[in-house]
């Protein structure tokens, strides 16, 4: 199958990067806390090899986080694409594992647009397309607000016209 025609907004890279930074920053903080706590307590229940190496934990978490922040957003931007043909919404999402999703407009039940606070800062929006099946429901993030709103309206309108009862 060929990839869908349109990329998401390049600002989506910034969005994902901020998200990863926040999540991994939190994990890094937790790792620092755990390391300090175990290092101080001299907890005898833990095997010696573990308490000796526990100060490496923040380094490992921090390294993994930096790698994720550097690699994942760009990778995702290169993968994420979407397209609406006559009666099908076709998306490709993911990065390490990719998903191609075909949702026929006639089977769409609801179309939601959502904006988190990062997305509002960047002028982006996420579209959620729901069908009767969770497997057949799609979430497309990183669209510019204008495009997302138009697309959601368009999809909802056409879904209403085409709707059949096959759920």
């Amino acid at each position: 199958m060929r990839p869908p025609a349109y990329r998401v907004s390049p600002r989506a890279i910034a969005h994902w990067a901020i998200e990863y930074l926040l999540v991994w920053g939190l994990l890094f903080g937790l790792a620092l806390g755990v390391a300090a706590w175990i290092g101080d307590s001299g907890w005898s229940a833990l095997p010696g090899w573990l308490s000796d190496r526990v100060r490496l934990l923040p380094h490992a978490v921090g390294g993994a986080g930096l790698l994720m922040v550097a690699v994942a957003p760009v990778w995702r931007y290169r993968v994420h694409r979407w397209e609406v043909s006559a009666d099908v919404l076709y998306t490709r999402t993911g990065w390490f594992s990719r998903e191609w999703l075909l949702v026929p407009v006639s089977r769409i039940q609801t179309v939601d647009t959502e904006q988190g606070w990062i997305e509002r800062l960047l002028g982006l929006a996420t579209i959620e397309v729901n069908t009767a099946s969770h497997t057949g429901s799609s979430e497309l993030s990183g669209l510019p607000v204008g495009v997302a709103t138009r697309l959601a309206e368009d999809l909802a309108h056409r879904a209403h016209d085409l709707r059949d009862d096959a759920t």
Partner: protein, 494 residues
Amino acid sequence: MNVHGEASPAVRDPHLPDDSAPGRRLHPLTFVVGAVREMLALLAAGATGLLVGGLSTAFYFTLAGLLFGLVFHVVSWGTFTYVLYDDRIELRRALVGRSVKSIPRDRIRGVDISASLPHRLLRLAVVHIDAGADGGEGTLNAVSRQEAERLRRALLTRTGAVPRLRPLGRMRRRWYVYAPLSGAYLLTPFALAGSLLGTLYNVGDDLGLITRDRVEAIAHDMVGLPPAVVVALAILVLLAMPIMSIVVFMLFNWDFTLYARGGSLVAERGLITRRSVSLERRRLRGVELADNPFERMSGVARLGALVTGLGDAAHRGRLLPAAPRPVAVSLAARVLGELPGPLRRHPRAARGRRVVRAVAPPLGVGALALLAGQPWVAGTCGALAVLAVPLGLDRYRQLGHATDDARLTVRSGSLRRRQVVVEHGAVVGWRIRRTLFQRRLGLATLSVAVGAGEGGYQAVDMAEPDAVALAAAITPAWVTPFLAAPTPGGGRRT
């Protein structure tokens, strides 16, 4: 929800006599059934209270509780009515406040009738109406058997005509011996015994019969038993397990019969509590054949239905609890239509992936245990990892898919193998998933999105072109536009 109650001059069902206009009551004997259980419990408590403490306050409390329970049941019977209209059924409760629950008849997906032992003795039945997520559900506890049948007919057919009851399949007596093959029934006796022991302990504790000394004495006696007795007891338990599982299986599935009645399927089962479940055929999207390795060796399979908007589908969607495979397959063909086949196997590259995925978890835990200096755990994990190799190989052997011009089928799993058959018209979307490793092996997992059952069923590790071709063959209009090269320019670009 209609809050006007009987004020609205709704059109009434012409098939109903006019006395239904103000609403029907449940059967007068209903509160007897409700009260009997409480009475038994309270009588037991009262009798022990009398024995232990004579005519104490506890005894009068029990008596008061009994009276209160009876009054409660009488009042709840007296304030509850139901009315069947052309387009809906209304369940009304008017005690202090008034509540009207209105279930639209065209949303009703199933009407279940069940009857516990006291209900059966009094010729009553509980009617449960299920109208899916957007219609809600309601229970009529309880009406007479004839009324239950009449309601079900009226609610499911909408015409009021009496459709013929045509048996589709019935469990044979000798199939009950398949019960021990399925692990679930093998373990049920333990769950029952556990809850029984727990109840005994609690009751004994309440009555002050259980003291620390006695528990310790029993434990001491158990430890002091000669090994021969322990071995004999273990053997006895092992022998009892399959027999108990057959007994439990018979309790639930006695005389399991599947009927076709007009536009719905009706499954009846149960020895003490007789249960009947109606499934609308127009909401049937497919069927599922499941088995485990023991059942496979004995050629046994279970058949279930994939029905849109059915709650508790694992129990209510059952079409055959255990039967020889050819019987299950032919019943599936009668319910849904011929199953597509033979199954196409998945490419060789998928085999390594199945084995790796089976072996990796025990191997990973084993490696961690080795690092942590736990050789015993590591050894066990190593043994498990070795056992996982044939499991992975079998998982690969069971992978398969097929389609004809009306239905598609996918099969996967080994310890719990499932073959799902779905009608082409029931497909609501396609999802193709490829991890980095799958991309390197040219594999793809195709998920069929269906608005019934679990919502999606996977054809694991198909060859990538096959996955696309299968989707394209079933819904050409959705897939073919994306097979060609993209049209340059035009449309919304971001």
